[in-house]
Assembly symmetry: C2
Homo-oligomer: 180 residues x 2
Amino acid sequence: MGQRDAGATRARILAAAVTEFAAHGHSGGRIDRIAKDAGSNVRMIYAYYGNKSGLFDAALSDAIRRMADEVPPRPTELPAWVGELFDFHQRQPEVLRICLWAQLERPEAASEPLETYLAKVESLQQQASPVIGAVDLLVIIYAVAQAWQLAPVGLLSADGSASHETRRAAAVEAITRLLA
Amino acid sequence: MGQRDAGATRARILAAAVTEFAAHGHSGGRIDRIAKDAGSNVRMIYAYYGNKSGLFDAALSDAIRRMADEVPPRPTELPAWVGELFDFHQRQPEVLRICLWAQLERPEAASEPLETYLAKVESLQQQASPVIGAVDLLVIIYAVAQAWQLAPVGLLSADGSASHETRRAAAVEAITRLLA
DNA sequence: CCTAAGTAAGTATCTATTTACTTATAGGCT
DNA sequence: AGCCTATAAGTAAATAGATACTTACTTAGG
């Protein structure tokens, strides 16, 4: 293979799409920018992904898969898992951003890779309580891990003494108390 | 005042803008639709709000103010407050949606009405603990109250026995345990 | 009758998608 | 091996429809 490698081009387009859509969303994302950023051409995007929405969905799935791979659930150590999720979102804000865009702009696409979530629910059954069921527990864990990414920047910067570590500790502590 | 009432037109435009931007965001929102929906004209939007971003910011501020008015903080009864926030988001999903859009598309605008938040932080000082400070506590409370709106619909529908009440109870219980 | 409120019809730009074309490369055939 | 060719990979330019924003005009009402 020389300069023509379909798989590599496909992958470069997908990577560029994740970046673009994470930054600007489906509606704000620009096909031209993605093509340029991928060192490819608009035509190739349509050849490989059909249309803008197809590309967005592919980018979303890729991001979700990456998160599931990098931070696998640890049903017996939920506080530790929250800490890892917190770190992940700090390290790769792109993933949460693209998920949020999807939730707002294409809710039907957002729950496509559902097995990923359902498997986690299964494994959480043990930790659930009568008042907080397994699904709700998972929902709360995700919410706490993402909480600081969703807060307005002005509010966070108001807390001068805060740091990555203190916030992480707060998230972990919150889930610890939740399970006590 | 007859058919020509500047204040009323302004208000109708703003209301239509909140609806439109909550549904489609800044980038996806359409000026023409807002004008039509408000029973007014594109020109008036520019006369009153300058440009699209000006209108979006006004809509955002209006939504935030509405939430602050309807669900004032109750520093000494945080679990109850979470319950009310949960109800509010269920009742008026528009507000959370427009805040999320702002966070993604115009983060600088999202923290404009900052006093609203800072006042709440002040009042939370009493409830804070060494490991979870006042700001972090507020961040977590917001996150839990919104959690179910951010979860993929497919995940929620997987839980057949869940209802508004059981979820609300889970949110309240989570904050109760957090403060124990 | 003058000013502010309102209307209708542009305009210039942008943007997703297509069409028509060029070139590399794998694999059969001699 | 070396040529030939079908096909996949790639490019550039056009198109058709939106869309934010303006200009030029009309009308209500104090």
